[in-house]
Symmetry: C2
Subunit: 120 residues, 2 copies
């Protein structure tokens, strides 16, 4: 819990790259080697290795090397905290929006009252 904010930092940063999001989607389908991923995303082995490392650091992927090949699979983290943060933001947003709505309603009815007063 202590590292909650740092964790959000690294996870959101990990998700901010289209290639890494693609890798996650690919691994949602089946496990894959670095070579598989590098080919799929038209990138050098070294480049893909870096992306995988970032995802691994964020806990979104785990890897295991047997023989020559390192197999990557979805990691232990399920983006719970990220989903929670976003959900909370949506709540706050709605609350603000509702408050604005109320204000508009209030102004409308006030306007109407003013108009009626003027009419008399």
């Amino acid at each position: 819990m202590v590292h909650y904010q740092a964790r959000l930092d690294t996870t959101f940063a990990a998700l901010s790259d289209i290639t890494r999001r693609g890798v996650l989607e690919r691994l949602g389908d089946s496990d894959a080697s670095i070579t598989d991923l590098a080919q799929r995303f038209r990138m050098t082995l070294t480049g893909m290795k870096k992306h995988v490392s970032v995802l691994e650091q964020a806990g979104l992927v785990t890897t295991e090397k047997v023989g020559r090949v390192r197999t990557c699979k979805l990691g232990p983290r399920r983006l719970e905290e990220e989903a929670a943060w976003i959900e909370r933001h949506r709540q706050l947003w709605s609350a603000r929006f509702d408050a604005l709505d109320e204000l508009v309603e209030h102004l409308k009815s006030k306007e109407k009252a003013d108009a009626q007063r003027k009419r008399r």
Copy 2:
């Protein structure tokens, strides 16, 4: 829809900074000027202005300058697409997990059957 991926890029990047997440939370409470935010997060006006620009670029904040002061408020975007992406990932993750579960169950029952066969 065309810019869906680019949008995810910029939004997740915007969310990957603790100061910017803080600003969003702060604005969920009430609107604020650049000066307010800069003080709250112990930063120069220029520095805070940059963060606000990033958030504005991502559609998470809107600003309006009247007189000297620029007022910032929560923007039109509610992280719908980000929430959807994350939710989808969680689904895929669960599907993979369930598949693994089934495999384990399968192996377990096979093992049991083998044991019984051996016992005879």
